[in-house]
């Protein structure tokens, strides 16, 4: 309970610090302030639908999946299925990385392993809709190699995280 209260306080403290920085910036450097606010509003507008999807997913997961199921699907590191689901979910997920933290935190509480969360987050770097643009800028060979190494290193990093951090918060 104490930890939960501390979490909320930290959340608001972080927002408070950012608000103070922006207030100071508005007085000292209006150009940077305006450009940051413009970027902020545009991005917020873009991420809102994703945020709604993510919280709907959290709702659906809370409603339909119990701890036993999550542990069965994603909890066992030695199971190929857990890795495969994490890798593909990471590749297919959309929106900024930080939007997925609440869902992952929820799944972690239900028993999802740190290694699989790492694999999910690492594979979020592979974005299928962006692959043609990457090919345009850097070539097909580079894109294939990058994708291959990223999937490989997502597993390596996942295993290392399990060794270093284990499953504790």
């Amino acid at each position: 309970m104490k930890i939960k209260n501390l979490k909320i306080e930290n959340n608001w403290l972080f927002l408070l610090i950012m608000t103070i920085i922006y207030i100071i910036l508005s007085m000292t450097n209006p150009t940077i302030f305006n450009s940051s606010i413009s970027f902020f509003t545009t991005t917020l507008y873009q991420v809102m639908p994703i945020l709604i999807i993510i919280f709907s997913l959290i709702f659906a997961f809370n409603l339909m999946l119990d701890t036993k199921n999550i542990v069965k699907w994603l909890g066992h590191l030695n199971k190929k299925r857990g890795w495969t689901i994490s890798i593909f979910a990471g590749i297919l997920s959309h929106g900024p990385i930080y939007m997925w933290y609440p869902l992952l935190s929820d799944l972690k509480e239900k028993g999802m392993k740190n290694g699989l969360i790492t694999a999910f987050l690492y594979n979020r770097a592979i974005k299928i809709p962006l692959l043609p643009i990457m090919i345009y800028y850097f070539g097909l060979k580079f894109t294939i190699l990058l994708t291959f190494f990223m999937i490989l290193f997502s597993i390596i990093n996942g295993l290392l995280i399990e060794k270093i951090v284990g499953d504790k918060k």
Binding site: N10, F39, L63, P102, L104, M134, L146, F153, K168
Partner: protein, 138 residues
């Protein structure tokens, strides 16, 4: 029915807990994005062996759509920046989140966030070197 009510309450609490952090992270990302322009980034590179490390550090500090990192990288190649540096920059842009670190550590644990970011940073440089090596022999 009771189950739906409990789940709704649980989800609403989740929103209440995470929303301030998400807004704060977005404010920080917007600020970094305004401060780090293409011109500033291109001036930072030295043309030495340190460039991949500098690229990885800039990518770690930056945040936003990966598409932006491709466009900046496209510009950087015009300044003669090598592919190891470009790759390290693109990779850390998406895998390392210095800006998102407070949110990640709050929601997934401090130790987890710290080590995940460290490993992602080291992996980015390793992958950059591996790709450059593999491109040379294929």
């Amino acid at each position: 029915m009771n189950n739906i009510r409990i789940t709704t309450k649980k989800t609403f609490n989740n929103i209440k807990q995470t929303f301030p952090t998400l807004i704060a992270v977005l404010l920080l990302i917007s600020l970094i994005n305004s401060l780090l322009t293409k011109e500033i980034i291109s001036k930072i590179f030295t043309g030495t062996i340190l460039d991949p490390l500098i690229g990885a550090i800039i990518g770690s500090i930056s945040a936003g759509n990966p598409l932006t990192s491709y466009i900046i990288s496209g510009e950087l190649t015009k300044y003669g920046i090598n592919m190891i540096t470009i790759t390290a920059f693109i990779l850390t842009w998406v895998t390392v989140g210095l800006v998102q670190f407070p949110a990640e550590s709050l929601m997934l644990g401090k130790k987890f966030a710290f080590w995940r970011n460290i490993l992602s940073f080291l992996s980015a440089i390793t992958i950059a070197i591996l790709i450059n090596f593999t491109m040379g022999i294929i």
